[in-house]
């Protein structure tokens, strides 16, 4: 979870547990916005660097496999990356992902910045997970090395620990 300056992150690091989650409203599909404050129950934010990359595909496939376990606990999964909504639509359809992929596209990376997980040098988000409580406070966060898919176990345990 420790971010070093060499990791390319200029901001002060990921939001820590206990912090209120910054609200956002991002496109999930053309004309269809998802607004955090309008969602009920716990939320898992999956920041990933880019649509189509092999590691991101593995990571999101694992979350798709676990979607039912999160849903059993009333938790909503949201993928977030800086790609445009059109890329997200194609990627989501190609990988048959059921949960929304949000476009943090304009202004680019604004939401990632507000969670402290934007990589200025590369212009992509960290590979970061946030579990938000039903009150939308950060309950847990984890930043993985950019090339390693984190798996789902940590986020699932954090969601289970909420109830």
């Amino acid at each position: 979870m420790t971010i070093k300056p060499s990791d390319g992150l200029v901001s002060k690091g990921p939001l820590q547990p206990g912090t209120p989650a910054p609200d956002f409203s991002l496109l999930a599909a053309p004309g269809q916005k998802v607004t955090l404050s309008e969602l009920e129950g716990p939320v898992v934010l999956i920041f990933y660097p880019a649509d189509w990359s092999p590691v991101c595909s593995d990571e999101l496939s694992m979350f798709e496999s676990a979607n039912g376990l999160f849903a059993d606990r009333g938790a909503q999964l949201l993928g977030i990356a800086v790609d445009s909504v059109w890329s997200h639509v194609a990627f989501k359809s190609n990988r048959k992902l059921e949960f929304p992929l949000l476009a943090d596209f304009h202004p680019k990376g604004e939401v990632a910045r507000s969670y402290g997980v934007y990589r200025d040098e590369e212009g992509v988000t960290e590979r970061a997970l946030f579990v938000l409580s039903a009150e939308h406070e950060v309950a847990w966060c984890h930043v993985s090395p950019i090339g390693i898919s984190p798996g789902v176990d940590g986020a699932l345990r954090a969601v289970e620990a909420l109830s």
Partner: protein, 180 residues
Amino acid sequence: MSADRPQLAVPVGPNDHVVGSDDAAITLVEYGDYQCPYCGQAYAIVKELQNVFDTSLRLVFRNMPLTNVHPQAELAAETAEAVALQGKFWPMHDLLFENQRDLSDAALLRYAEEVGADEKEVASALSQGAVSERVREDVESGIRSGVNGTPTFFVNGDRYDASWALELFQEFLQEVLDQL
């Protein structure tokens, strides 16, 4: 091993598909998907590791079909489990990885027959739900263990994140063995 490295959440038990002795120094657990091309590559590598490490290695295979990208993976896994009820899991496992290009419904039943399973019993097991429950349990144990794609390997309970290219994987396992 770092302290926060994901660990196998469900220990190897009597329900697992195992090759090798319980006394083996190394237990290698693979979570795999029969339709995943990387798992197909890893299949040959694992075979070679079994040759190299012989009785020092115990292999366990658990199902992790990534159904969103591999539409036949779940049925392939369930068919292997149905064949396993007739005691022929490993020949079926091998045949599936050797024939990844055709995992159609008809081909799966043909492979089951080829390894000597009774086709009617396989079809009946597939329709009764017990094998799908078995696959679901594997998937959940994988999710809870930190499986992060396919294939994912665990070496003596720790997730292995480095390359599974033969030379590197063999080197790593040799180090594990030397340290015991």
